[in-house]
Symmetry: C2
Subunit: 498 residues, 2 copies
């Protein structure tokens, strides 16, 4: 596997914590099967419904099929006579149930706001696939071609319009929520459909991770800094480990040794597979570096990077680098200690929705700097990227399309007098924060930044271990959302009074 491919896959799947059936990281994302994991998920109750969507909203070919978009809905606290708000989570690249379960914040504040909750699934994910099955939908570039963010936003717009009509909720304000890619959708939706929703909480939404807006090394630099701030020796051990792994892989019996050291169930086919497996763990650890035990991707202790580095730095004088790395990464892959050996999926080219999106619109250039990053040096090369996408999907990316369609360059000047009611919330520990909006743009397009926060932690359910900055952050969000809603009622008073 070429290095760039490995990086592409890492990047692709970082935003893709789903149950994709054929990804490199498949086994790492599978979740919710063991009863022990279910226990800490937010208790949620909802109805599952389906809404018929056109496959293409922007052309009028009449031979295209429709598809059923799944959505979860809860109206327990809402009634239309009080024109309660609709909280709408912009489903991202995975099964919507998983996002609903991991967005406890919405469930907790719904009673306070007397809000309806709606969790629509993103087209081509979970059950919301066209052409009758995921197999058919993912068959080729033609069937996949309608998997784009613009189509997804139009799905949301039509679903909201439908719900407002069906629930006699014409004057109910809609507030958008989303994390990660879902946060990007929430922000873009507020900008593109201001008539549909009064505001958006876009958590950890890297809307600037495109083209040349931010330096390409940003992501891996942040991951690296997360490790360095815990321990410089830990950072250095990791940085040194890549050469060690590569040279070990080239020796006789080296792959077998690596297989044994890292306890893989099957023998490694290349040392790069191991590097990918490790890089992936470090990146995810930076994302879910939460201050309390959580299970967003894997069961982990609080401050997991601290624990990883404690184990890497520990050991006696004679402990080898690779043994240290194994001990460290065990925190991520096997914190419960239940795994006897690890599986490494050998199908990196398997079809997956986010891979398609990354090969069409979501081209996020990322490099790893030889100076500042603890990862193997790597420079993003668009030509190789394009070539690989042509090979894998027969599709040519449009790397400048997202900034043309949604903007990004010079966003502060652009949105200073344009748009309103968007919260960009970010934790600085989250590697995606570098591609998001970290400074207020205007009075109502604001950045909430927490020094100790990780990937969309604010959207998660509260816990008894929440630090005060997180409690404050959520309180600020609630206050801002309340402001949007009162403003909506105020502006529409004439209509309501009629």
């Amino acid at each position: 596997m070429k290095l760039w491919t490995f990086l592409l896959l890492i990047l692709s799947f970082i935003l893709y914590p789903s149950t994709s059936s054929s990804s490199l990281f498949k086994h790492r994302f599978l979740r919710g099967e063991s009863s022990s994991r279910k226990e800490i998920e937010t208790e949620i109750s909802y109805e599952t419904k389906y809404f018929k969507q056109n496959l293409d909203h922007f052309s009028f070919k009449n031979d295209l099929p429709t598809f059923p978009q799944r959505y979860l809905i809860n109206t327990d606290h809402w009634n239309h006579s009080s024109m309660g708000p609709i909280f709408f989570y912009c489903g991202n690249e995975g099964d919507i149930l998983w996002f609903a379960q991991n967005s406890g914040f919405l469930w907790e504040i719904a009673p306070l706001f007397k809000a309806m909750l709606v969790f629509p699934e993103h087209r081509y994910y979970g059950e919301s696939v066209p052409f009758g099955s995921k197999y058919e939908a993912y068959k080729n570039a033609t069937t996949l071609s309608y998997l784009t963010s613009e189509q997804a936003l139009a799905d949301f717009a039509l679903l909201i319009t439908h719900l407002k009509r069906n629930y006699s909720a014409l004057h109910s304000p809609v507030v958008l929520f989303g994390g990660s890619y879902g946060g990007m959708l929430a922000a873009w939706m507020r900008l593109k459909y201001p008539h549909i929703a009064v505001g958006a909480l876009a958590s950890s939404a890297p809307i600037l991770q495109f083209e040349d807006i931010i330096p390409p090394q940003t992501f891996y630099d942040i991951v690296s800094n997360d490790f360095r701030r815990e321990s410089l020796t830990c950072f250095n051990y990791i940085k040194q480990s890549w050469d060690e792994i590569a040279s070990r892989g080239q020796t006789n019996d080296g792959l077998a040794q690596l297989t044994t050291t890292f306890k893989f169930c099957q023998q490694l086919k290349s040392s790069e597979d191991l590097s990918g497996w490790l890089s992936s763990a470090y990146s995810y650890l930076a994302m879910v570096n939460y201050p309390y035990p959580a299970e967003f991707m894997m069961p982990l202790p609080g401050h997991p990077i601290k624990e990883v580095c404690r184990r890497i730095d520990g050991g006696s004088h004679g402990t080898s680098i690779l043994e240290r790395i194994y001990e460290g990464v065990n925190v991520y892959y096997n914190y419960t200690g239940e795994a006897k050996c690890f599986e490494l999926d050998d199908d990196p080219h398997g079809l997956s929705g986010w891979n398609w999106q990354a090969c069409t619109e979501m081209v996020m250039p990322m490099s790893s700097s030889p100076e500042s990053s603890m990862f193997p040096p790597y420079e993003f090369n668009y030509s190789s990227f394009e070539e690989e996408c042509l090979e894998e999907f027969g599709v040519k990316p449009r790397p400048k399309w997202i900034t043309t369609e949604f903007g990004g360059h010079n966003i502060h000047a652009t949105l200073k007098n344009f748009g309103s009611n968007i919260i960009f919330s970010n934790g600085i520990l989250d590697p995606w924060s570098g591609g998001s909006v970290l400074q207020n743009i205007s009075e109502s397009v604001v950045a909430l930044v927490t020094e100790e926060g990780a990937h969309h932690i604010d959207l998660r359910a509260s816990t008894k271990n929440d630090p005060s900055w997180l409690i404050e952050q959520r309180a600020t969000e609630i206050k801002l959302i309340q402001g949007w809603i009162s403003d909506h009622y105020q502006k529409n008073k004439v209509i309501f009074d009629m």
Copy 2:
């Protein structure tokens, strides 16, 4: 021809002053052939260029062809070192050359602003047709399916991005202009692509002419009022004429008599054809009821409705209603007196771009009220409309799509704190004004309304006969545009200074 079909065609073509080869009103729109007409067109000089566009911006099918989008460009007054603005006319449903020639305002103010002028052609019109020829592009619903406003806006966004790069004009502010449907595109573009353009002058843009936002009788009521304000008797003669025409059409030899009275070159096939021909003239007269002689659609005197009514009301005591009507309508169809007889195209179902757009996205419900309108009573019936579109194009309209995609309902509350820098200019005599924005929405989303103005008169070249209100209106527009541009330079100062 059913009455509703006739009305549909009227409505369709009112926004479509083009050289469509097969429309009911073809002969009425043909223009620019006689040298006498060319004389009053604005003197313009430009380069003609072509930009390769993807046929579908919102999906990634790789078997779709590209097409060359034509644009006219003039850089005489612009240079990139001063970061002069780019004035971008959002081409609408016709040949772009015609719009460029009839938008004298832009050519006149370009030197003042040191602006680049760009007139891009709307996809599927003029020379900018996909599939190699208009014949192929208009063949069926599949080939026509990419003729939508969203695709056209994306074309504009990509072209602007390309021009900025090619002319080293990254920091040049772009100002959008457009009249009628082009004005709708300009307003929508400013709302959807605020990162691409700093403001929009949307002249006579009926962005609210959809669904139930305004009463369906608005358009014909305004036309009727334009006649009534000149003369109540004139209004009444016209109102009475329809029954007269219908009953005459049913008598023996009635169609022959009507053919003679109205001097058609070929015999009428139905009295409804005559009614359509007359209704169309009245509607256009209301649109081009300019205070000075002009040739926007036909060569006409200043205040043409006054002249029409003078002739209808004139005549001796014994003059019949139909003779009066003939005298009146002659002002519209034959003011130069050159026509010996009139042609009536009998191919109302001919393919045309705007007809397709009206049958897909641009569903504008319009009725004629028995009480307030001088036209034959008519109630818009969506089912019949849909049926006819299915019959003509095999396509099912999406009548709620435009308001879902672009908004419209409750626009004042929606845009009060959202969006900026849009001028909605309207003349109250223009029947399209009823579907536009006639009150300020915010400090920078403003309405400029003139009591005596007609269809996008402000975009036309100045004349020595311009009334003072028109001179003032244009001065206000210039001042507002200057404000947008200085604001842009101010906000981007940090960047420029680097």
